[in-house]
Every structure is written in structure tokens, then in C-alpha cells.
Amino acid sequence: MHYEIIVVGGGHAGCEASHIAAFMGHKTLLITMNKKNIADMPCNPSIGGTAKGVIVRDIDALGGLMGKVADESHFQIKMLNSKKGPAVQSLRCQADKRTYPQNMLKRLEETKNLSIKEATVEDLIVENAKIKGVILKDGTKIMCDALILTTGTYLKSNILIGSSNKVGGPHGEKRSDFLSDNLKKLGFEIQRLKTGTPPRIKASSIDFSECQEELGDNKYYTFSHDDQPKYKIEEQQKCYLIYTNAKTHQIILDNLNKSSMYGGYVTGIGPRYCPSIEDKIVRFKDKERHQLFLEPESMYYDEWYLQGFSTSMPEDIQEQMVHSLKGLEHAILTKYAYAIEYDAINPLQLKPTLETKIVENLYTAGQINGTSGYEEAAGQGLIAGINAALKLQNDEPFILKRNESYIGVLIDDLVTKGTKEPYRMLTSRAEYRLLLRHDNADLRLREYGYKLKTITQEMYKNYQKRLEDIASLKEFLKNTKLEITPEVKEIFTKNNINLPLNKTSYFELLKRPEITLDFLKLFTKIDYPIDTEEEVSIDIKYAGYISKMQKEIEKMLKLEEKQIPPDIDYDKIANLASEARQKLKEVRPLSIGQASRISGVNPADIAILAIYLKKEYSKNE
């Protein structure tokens, strides 16, 4: 059996990777241990969130599936940070754990060139440091030209609850026992990571009258640029907010040594941004209470997710802890919280295309690369899939820059800085986030999608329509002037806004911080899609900030343009600090810009490197 591209693992990375590779015309096989777990959400029942919501839109702009499947599978959607500035707003939906995987599977099955097979991969066939195929648990060999590993947390995973330590993946699934050892044999550095998930509660056992309601947004939103909303605002499902209390804290402190973490049963490194409840209570002793959110797992399950209550306490203590919470006094735990340890590779062994440096045509994406989160995984899967396809087509690789997409930031961070804990995307990691907004994802990326042939004609048309809309709205705002009539004057006074000069253009008015496009709608009819209106307002209102950032980007891009030859011998450069030399050898950055982002390489080292390059390589120019 032979496929051009094989993807191992049917999680969020694997779905995007296999779909896009097949979409680009390559005969692709997706191997999963269990078809039921395609696009599984083993942790929180939501897609998106700060920064992550923008990743979903970026994926969509490039032809990925996550946004479209989320749009047809959620029961609540919300724009986060809507009261803050434009640079940080982000969508999050409560995705249905039953329909999301179903809808994803359906789309994959409808994808041309894509086959799906249930099996466990335990070894790779590598010849002359080039991937040739995989060996399944039953010994079957399947050959391929490129392989993408998206194995998630299934590499030698252990589930920990208190002192119990069971071999296996999420949902009691089997783990892959030998693949990570075989990767190690090929020369990969393997690290052990840890993550956790909170308990699930039977909905009918919760007294919701004690909980505070958390509602969805009252505006219509979609992740995908191509979708119309498929829900009704008033039909959105509620979530709830509750708090821990002194009793909860006491139970945890009294039983601390029984938890896997504090009892010393865990070796993996867990993420700081996803601490267990015991961690929060130990580290932040002064806090009287911590927030917890109750979120439905699915409209089809009688099961709720208790966000903020991840723990590795034994089952009996978990019962006590949950019962100490208001409204959950009689709660029935349908699944206990657990910690999971798993093997991941050191992402410094990857190129920015997500191809490994050690084995040619082998790509990795998602949690195997040390990241955390569905969206982070999906973004990488997409890039790995695109690049695997491009490589087989003998085309230039596709690398997103830090000023182009959160996915670019994510991958650059991974392959430049590495990670010792599961990496989560945060807006603070993106220095150019004012440009990486959710409202302009298509403007940033659709052109790439068109060139790479990862989007349909229809998607490209939607984008062109958007460009036209933006231009026409800007034109309208420039050409329309506000006449100060008594009525206009009254509206300004009522809103406590200083009256402008007569016949000031709407464009100029919008520059004032206190005047929004919605305010201008009081005087004239403006009816464009919400994203277009947002995009244009931001462009006008924050032009000064945007141009300040553009200047920073120009500086950065200049450094990115200074390429470092792949054959550079860092031992030949005198005066490099030894730590810098070692890091440069490990990362092998493609440009001075990337080199300057490596931790442990200081500006003096960069200066020396730049001088060396000039001396050694400018002769041939």
C-alpha cells in the first residue's frame, strides 16, 4: 500500500493536516486508533478564546476546517474582551462534544483523496534519513512520501489520579507504547510533559439556583469568513459561575500529599497557565476564593465540565472537594479529574515548516511538539499539511511570519525558543497583535490560500467581496459630510460629545476616540457586514498606532531578510559566548532576526554573528 501523505492521529492537528493535504490534491491516509475519537475534545468543551479565537479564524482564512465545524457545532458564542481595544478581541464558542467530532468526521469523509483507517502505528520506516512509511501494530507496512505525526498525548501516556497511575490515553483508550522509543532511536530528544483535566458533573445533580449565569453574546458571530450564523441568539445555552470557599481549600490542604503532583507521582512538567486547583491554593494562599465555571459538555449528554477545578487528587477527595462547592453539595461525578503524562519531542528539532531536522519528509504537529490546546494543534496541523504537500510538489515552503498570523508566532516560538512546558498561545506572545486581529484574518491570509490552492474559488470570491466592501465603506465615509442641524446638535449634546465643525467628513469624525461607527449610524444608514465595519473603524481610528507598529515590523523584517546560510559553521566564529554558540548550533536559525529571538543569544552575539556573515559571505555577492 502506498500513499503520498500519511497522517498519524485524528485529533485537531491530524484533521487539518490530512484535509488540507488531500484538498491540495495528494493521495492522503489518516490513521487513527479509533474513528469515534476523530476531532475529540478530551478537555474543555470550547473552541477559541483569547488569541485562540484568532487562530481559528486564521485557520479558516487558509482553508482549514476548525472554524466551519465550530460554527455548525456550538451552543453558545461570545466575543471576549469586547470592552477592550480591537487588538485583543477574540471569539470563543461552547462546542458540542458530540456534534463537533461528528461534523468534522463528515467533512473528512467528504474530502476527495482522503482515506481514513483505524490502526495503531508503532514504528517508522526510514531510509537514508528519509521517511518511507509506517509499521502498524500488527506488522503491516504502509509506504508514503511524507508522514505527519499528530499523536497528541498518546505517546506512552499515563493517567494519574492520586497515587494511581494507569497506562493509557484519554477515555481509557490504548496508548502508543513504542513510537516514542522508536523516535528516540532515530535521534529525537523526547521530553515528558503533563497536563490535566477537571471532573465532569451530572447536570441533573447540580442546583443551578445557587450559580451565577454566564450568557452568550447578543450579537451574531461566526468563526468562518464564509459562514452565515447557524444559531439563534436567544437559543444559546447558559454556562454558570461558582466559587471555591474556605471549606474547599481546607479539604485540599489537608489532603495535599495524596495528590499525584504533591505526592511526587508525576515526573512530567505541567503548564503554568493551567494549574491544578491544589496548585492555585498552595501558590496563592491569600486568595479566599477561586472562580469556577460550569459548562455543558454537549446538548446530548447529561454531563457538565467544571472549569478551574483540574486536580490529581484521589477519587474520594475529589468527591469531598466538589461537594464543598455551593450548588454542588449533592453533585454526582460522572468522570473524575485526572492528570496525564505523555512523551513529546523537543520542538527545537523542527524546521519552521514543521518538518523534522533529523528525518526528511517527516513532519510533526500538535501536542507531540509540546503545545497545548485544540487551536494550537489545528494551526500546526494545517501548516504541516500544507508544507508536506508543497515539498512533494517541489514548491517553496510556506512559513508565516510573526506579523502575519498567530500561527506564525506559535511556530516561530516553538522552533526558536523550544518549550519546557506545554505551550499555550497568549496574545502577549504576539508583539504585533494590533495587526493580528480576528476581523482581518482573511485580509492577512486569503491571498496565500489562493496562491497555495488551499481555498476554494468561492472562498476567494468572498474575500474579494470583502475588499470591495471595505473600499466602498471607506469611500462613503470620506465623501459623506455631517451637516450640523439642530437634531444632530441635540444628539451630540445628549451623548456628551463635543460638536464638530459643520460638514466634517465621517472619516474625520471617526478619528475621534469618543465617536464610533455605531454612533454615526444615528445620522446615516451604514449597513455592512460586522467584520467589515469593524475593520474600517479600526483602520481609521487607530491609524497612528498601526503605522507605529508597521515601523517596528519593517525593522524586524530587515533582520529577517538577513539570511544565515544553512551550512554556517558556528565553531568558526570567534568571540561568540559559549552559550550562544551552543544555542545557535541547536536551533540553526534561518535569519539574523530568528537568531536574535533565541534565549541565551545576547545582542553582542548577534553583532558578532552579523559581522562574521558580512565578512565571510558578502564576497560572493
Binding site: F284, Q307, R433
Partner: protein
């Protein structure tokens, strides 16, 4: 590309009984060893002092102590050898020549420090301070340079950077975890208070650096006024006090006379538009142009007026030209009847012939620049243009951020200014802080699922 070995006499020539010759580079030890009779320097332990002779073939040149310091714990982080010579200038020169003959290269000024910087031994401010130290001439300059070297300036900038980091971290937590109450909400009031605090730190740093410039370069005082009001005699009056030398500056600036003196140990450069004596209109015009140029470049202007004459149109023009500058009006010739009307003007009256009024004038200058207090102030001056520019730009960013809080600009936008200031101050101390922000974020706040 291997760095070659450099050598220089690192003590002042002719001063003191001992001269030190310093070698740095991969051949430093073998070069020293080849002209040394005593223990085998290639075999001695690091950081030892070795007694012996410097030999030119069979001839003893000097009796010396040789310090051997092996990489990396040395000033340049390279192998360093220091030869302590006892034999005066000519012997020292001979030893130097010998090291060059055996393969060392005469170092360029500041090259040892440059290597120390490039090798990561010292940061940028320290490196700049070292170069200042090398070229410093007065004790105050030296103190200032050493101060930079000790990292006191670095510490001050670091403290400001930390303050900005905390604000950014607070903003970030608000953004990345919008639904968590654990984070302090970043309100305009909170921001404004914090930003104004940082603004005042930067203003202090900036005004201190203006002082730093005065300490380093001296205070430029321009004497302006019509011909024959007594500028030159005022200049001489200053000089009589301090016995400094008047020098003609050659070339096109022949018309300017510059003299140097000191006030409370601070160098003062007096510049006089002398030589413009004729009342020929054209030349007088030229004199005014020159005076105007001086008004722009000098730190302080002394406008000299004649007590015995009424204000002329030229006087009035000069008076109006100094309104926005630091200036003192000196009314000369108080021995003659007062014809001048100085109502509304803050003046010092005096007489350059009797030296009457010179002391009040000096006191006024001292007061204006706190010259008497410069000594005791903590010497945290930025001392070069790059540093000062960076601080000024950072200050501009902070000011914009404060304006933004007033205009109710969202925090994430305003943060762009903060980040910009942050980057500049970080580049001022020439350092990287990988993940510092993220670390602060997670150290101070309790977040996540």
C-alpha cells in the same frame, strides 16, 4: 576568524614608578613567555604573579612581575598577561616593542574594552562608561564613568523597566484572562498614577543627563552684546579670577574667542564674539548672525548691556532673542551714570574694570546649574547621545501613553507606547529578557483552568 593578540601600555606614560603593559588574545601568554626569563608562563596557574626578567635575546631589559590570567575570567575574557615594568619610559617602550616583535599588535584606543563588550563580559552601558573612563580628564568625569561601570545607571534603568514590565503584565493578564477576577483590573486611574511615576523617573534621568553633559564637556557660556559694551573685558574678568588661557581659534571661526575656566571645579567654556568692533552696518549684521548662532548652541547666554546708554534697537533684538533660553543679563559700566532703562528685567549690575559684580554673576551661574551640588549628587548621568536619545524617546512614549489614558484609549492600544518605551530602555542597557514578561505574568497572578 581568530582574534589576534593586542598589546598596550595600560598606565599613563611617565606617571608613577610602575608601568603596566597588557596583552590580550590567544597568544598573549606565549608572546610574554618568549621574552621572559623566569617560570614557564605557559605552565603557571591562572591568576598568578610571576617574578623574572624581560630579555631581548641575552640582554636583560627590566626586572618585572608578570600576572598571568587565563580565559575566561579576565577583563576581555581572553588570555591576559600584564607585565609590571619598573624601568621608566624608555624601558617600558622597549618591552612594548619586544612584544610587538614577537607577534602582538598595538591595540587601538579602547580595543580591550571593545573585546570585553563583544565577548559579553560587560554590557553596553558599561562598555560606554569604560570608554568614558579612559578618556576622562577630571576626577568628576572619572567618577561618572566608574559609576556606569558599577552598573548604578543600569540599576536605575532596570528599575524603570521593571515598573513598565509590571504594568504590561497587568494589562496582559486583563486581556488573556478576561473572565478571571484574580487580575487587578487596569483602570485609567491606576495606569495614570503608574505612568506618571515612570514619567518622573525618566524626566529625572534626562535632566541628570543634561548635568552629565555639563560635567563631561563643561558649560558653554556665550557672551553676546553690541560692540564696545564690554564683552571682552567681562571675559577677561572671568579669567583674571581663575588664571585661564585665552586662545585664538584658527580658521573660519577666527572671530570667536574661546576661553576656559572653572567654576566650582566644573569646566566652563566662555565664547565671545570678539573682533566685531567696527560699527560698519554690514559687519555688525554679521556679528548679530554669529551671536544668534551662539544663542542656539550655548548652554547659557550672558547678554552684556551698557549702563551708560539707552537700549538700542540691536539691544532690544538681542533681548527678545534670549527670552526662551537660559540667560543672564549683565549691565556693565555701573561706574558711569545710569541711562539704561531695565524695568522688568532681571539683571546683574557690575563693572568689568573694578571686577564689581563678577562674584554675584558667578554665584548666579552656580545657582542656575547647581554647580556647587554636582559633586554630592548621585552621579547617575547618561553620558552619550545614544543613551540620552533613547531616554528622550522612551519619555515621549510614556507621555503619549498618559495622553491616551486621558483620551480613554483602550489599554491594549495604549500598551503599544508602553512596549515601545520598554524596548528602548531595554536596548539602553543592552540586554535581553527572554520570556521575562511571561514569567512575571505567571509569577504574580493566579490563572487558568
Amino acid at each position: 576568524m581568530e582574534e589576534d593578540t593586542i598589546v598596550a601600555i595600560s598606565t599613563s606614560m611617565g606617571v608613577g614608578a610602575i608601568s603596566i603593559i597588557r596583552l590580550s588574545g590567544k597568544d598573549a601568554i606565549s608572546i610574554a613567555n618568549s621574552i621572559f626569563k623566569g617560570p614557564d608562563l605557559t605552565k603557571v596557574k591562572s591568576h598568578t604573579i610571576n617574578y623574572g626578567y624581560i630579555m631581548d635575546k641575552d640582554e636583560i631589559i627590566d626586572e618585572v612581575l608578570v600576572s598571568v590570567m587565563l580565559t575566561p575570567k579576565t577583563y576581555t575574557t581572553e588570555d591576559v598577561v600584564e607585565i609590571n615594568c619598573h624601568g621608566g619610559i624608555s624601558t617600558t617602550n622597549k618591552v612594548l616593542a619586544l612584544t610587538i616583535k614577537h607577534g602582538a599588535r598595538l591595540a587601538e584606543p579602547g580595543e580591550f574594552t571593545k573585546r570585553a563588550f563583544l565577548n559579553g563580559r560587560i554590557n553596553l552601558i558599561e562598555a560606554e562608561a569604560v570608554s568614558d573612563l579612559i578618556s576622562s580628564q577630571s576626577e568628576k568625569q572619572r567618577k561618572m564613568a566608574i559609576n556606569g561601570l558599577n552598573g548604578r545607571l543600569t540599576k536605575i534603568v532596570e528599575d524603570i523597566v521593571t515598573k513598565i514590565t509590571n504594568i504590561i503584565a497587568n494589562i496582559e493578564v486583563n486581556i488573556d484572562y478576561p473572565e478571571y477576577e484574580d487580575a487587578i483590573e487596569v483602570t485609567p486611574e491606576y495606569l495614570k498614577a503608574e505612568l506618571e511615576n515612570i514619567e518622573s523617573d525618566l524626566v529625572k534621568l534626562k535632566s541628570n543627563s543634561e548635568m552629565g553633559k555639563i560635567i563631561k564637556k563643561g558649560l558653554d557660556i556665550a557672551l553676546i552684546g553690541r560692540p564696545n559694551v564690554g564683552k571682552s573685558s567681562l571675559l577677561n574678568a572671568f579669567l583674571n579670577e581663575d588664571k585661564a588661557i585665552v586662545t585664538d581659534i584658527s580658521g573660519t571661526t577666527r572671530d570667536l574667542i574661546e576661553a576656559q575656566t572653572q567654576i566650582n571645579g566644573i569646566a566652563v567654556n566662555l565664547i565671545d564674539t570678539a573682533g566685531i568692533r567696527e560699527s560698519n552696518n554690514l559687519i555688525e549684521q554679521l556679528g548679530i548672525t554669529k551671536s544668534k548662532e551662539l544663542i542656539n548652541t550655548a548652554d547659557l547666554i550672558i547678554l552684556v548691556l551698557n549702563n551708560n546708554e539707552e537700549l538700542t534697537p540691536l539691544d532690544k533684538e538681542l533681548l527678545s532673542s534670549i527670552t526662551n533660553k537660559k540667560s543672564i543679563i549683565f549691565v556693565n559700566k555701573n561706574d558711569l551714570p545710569t541711562k539704561i532703562d531695565t524695568t522688568g528685567l532681571d539683571i546683574v549690575k557690575g563693572n568689568t574694570k573694578t571686577l564689581d559684580g563678577i562674584e554675584p554673576l558667578i554665584n548666579k551661574i552656580t545657582e542656575m546649574y547647581n554647580l556647587d551640588k554636582l559633586e554630592s549628587k548621585d552621579n547617575t548621568y547618561l553620558s552619550n547621545i545614544r543613551q540620552i536619545n533613547l531616554v528622550e524617546e522612551a519619555l515621549k512614549d510614556i507621555t503619549s501613553a498618559i495622553q491616551d489614558t486621558d483620551n480613554q484609549i483602550p489599554v491594549d492600544m495604549l500598551e503599544i507606547h508602553l512596549r515601545s518605551a520598554w524596548e528602548k530602555l531595554r536596548s539602553l542597557i543592552g540586554d535581553t529578557y527572554e520570556d521575562e514578561l511571561i514569567d512575571t505574568l505567571f509569577k504574580n497572578f493566579c490563572l487558568g483552568k
